[in-house]
């Protein structure tokens, strides 16, 4: 059903493009690309968007519109994951934390080191290959104000990749 609607939308859109090109048939038609997937920070759609239809919507919502569309749903999801949530180790209450998360962009420093989480005063400066982003996120969701609450849920105890990264370009390890 959904794919039918999508198909109709695509046919309709292509029709409009083709007819507009007829007015100027000396130019080759411009090729357009329509969004299907996106991500900023790791695991956000996976963890905080519970509903399958919302997962699709999240993938095609531009970041400047994400906060308004998803913050309250993220807050409900956070409460479902951790009913005892008050503040996390960054001191963010549930509204503030989910406001940050719902706008799914990766913050990157252009001047200093880049790491997902270094300390409670130095975080979100990029994402390196070896960063244990899952433990970082689990701690922010489940660890409470000290990071020590719910100790069974704040680390998956997989702390590194299964291959060593390269120090030079292209940095990622060769395939298995």
């Amino acid at each position: 059903m959904k794919s039918t609607i999508k198909l109709i939308a695509i046919i309709f859109t292509s029709g409009v493009l083709i007819s507009s090109c007829k007015k100027n048939d000396t130019m080759s038609p411009t090729v357009y690309y329509e969004q299907q997937d996106q991500m900023g920070r790791p695991g956000i759609n996976t963890v905080f968007v519970a509903d399958v239809a919302d997962k699709e919507t999240f993938n095609v919502t531009t970041p400047s519109l994400m906060g308004a569309a998803f913050q309250s749903k993220f807050q409900a999801r956070l409460s479902a994951l951790n009913p005892g949530y008050t503040v996390n180790v960054l001191g963010l209450d549930n509204t503030t934390f989910t406001s940050v998360l719902a706008t799914d962009v990766l913050n990157v420093s252009t001047t200093g080191p880049t790491k997902f989480f270094t300390s409670t005063t130095d975080y979100l400066t990029g994402r390196g290959l070896a960063d244990d982003v899952i433990d970082n996120e689990l701690t922010l969701i489940f660890g409470g104000s000290t990071g020590a609450s719910n100790p069974g849920l704040t680390s998956d105890h997989v702390n590194a990749n299964d291959k060593v990264f390269l120090t030079s370009f292209p940095y990622l390890a060769s395939p298995w």
Binding site: I10, S14, L17, V31, Y32, Y33, E34, Q35, Q36, D37, Q38, M39, G40, P42, G43, N45, T46, V52, K55, E56, N59, T62, P63, S64, D104, V105, L106, N107, V108, S109, T110, T111, G112, P113, T114, T125, G126, R127, G128, L129, G152, L153, S155, D156, H157, V158, N159, A160, N161, D162, K163, F165, T167, F169, P170, Y171, L172, S174, P175, W176
Partner: protein, 220 residues
Amino acid sequence: MKKKKMHIAAIVAAFLIVAGILYAADHIDAPTVTNQSTDITDLYVFRAQDPNNLVFVANSQGLASPGNTASLKFDANTLFEFNIDKDGDNVEDLVIQCKYDAASNKIQVYGPVVPSMVGTRSKLEGNMSAEVGVTPYGGSAIIGTGSTGIKVFAGPRDDPFFFDFNKYKEILAGMATGFANPGTDTFAGTNVLSLVVEVPKSLIGASGNINVWLEAKKKI
């Protein structure tokens, strides 16, 4: 009728999740992109070995076993686009676009360039800034270098993501109360299709903080 349909959809969705479909960093995160060339698995952005450069990594088509890796292919109808916001409004001020050219079996990089349109629809912007032949499975990494100092790699790599995702799903389903120690990396021994683009910071022209997100777009 409509209600019934939605009910069935909910049951199917619940079944899919319980049956163990993997949704992880961004691996297979929604039905439209599952098993498609547009399925992003991960985005990484980090300072390069040369601290004057930034590295942008776009991984897609995850969970490939070694036996399936040789068949991973870039798609000429898929555009990967790194979006860069420089002024904190979460609207892209620059894009770096990566497009596969089937005739030459190369990935072509456009930008960083100010896009003429923003949002969910894009077209190629400006001129090609670098290109590279796709590294075949088992081959040594081919590195392309553009005239502006951009480096590019395209081909299969080990999936750098690590997570005991199966245990996480058990916890969500109420079948476990916590993670195991040691955990088991669900992504161990699996590969992804990688695009790695290293860009001189001078081409981005920001000093301080930028916001980056990755989009996968399909030709219409």
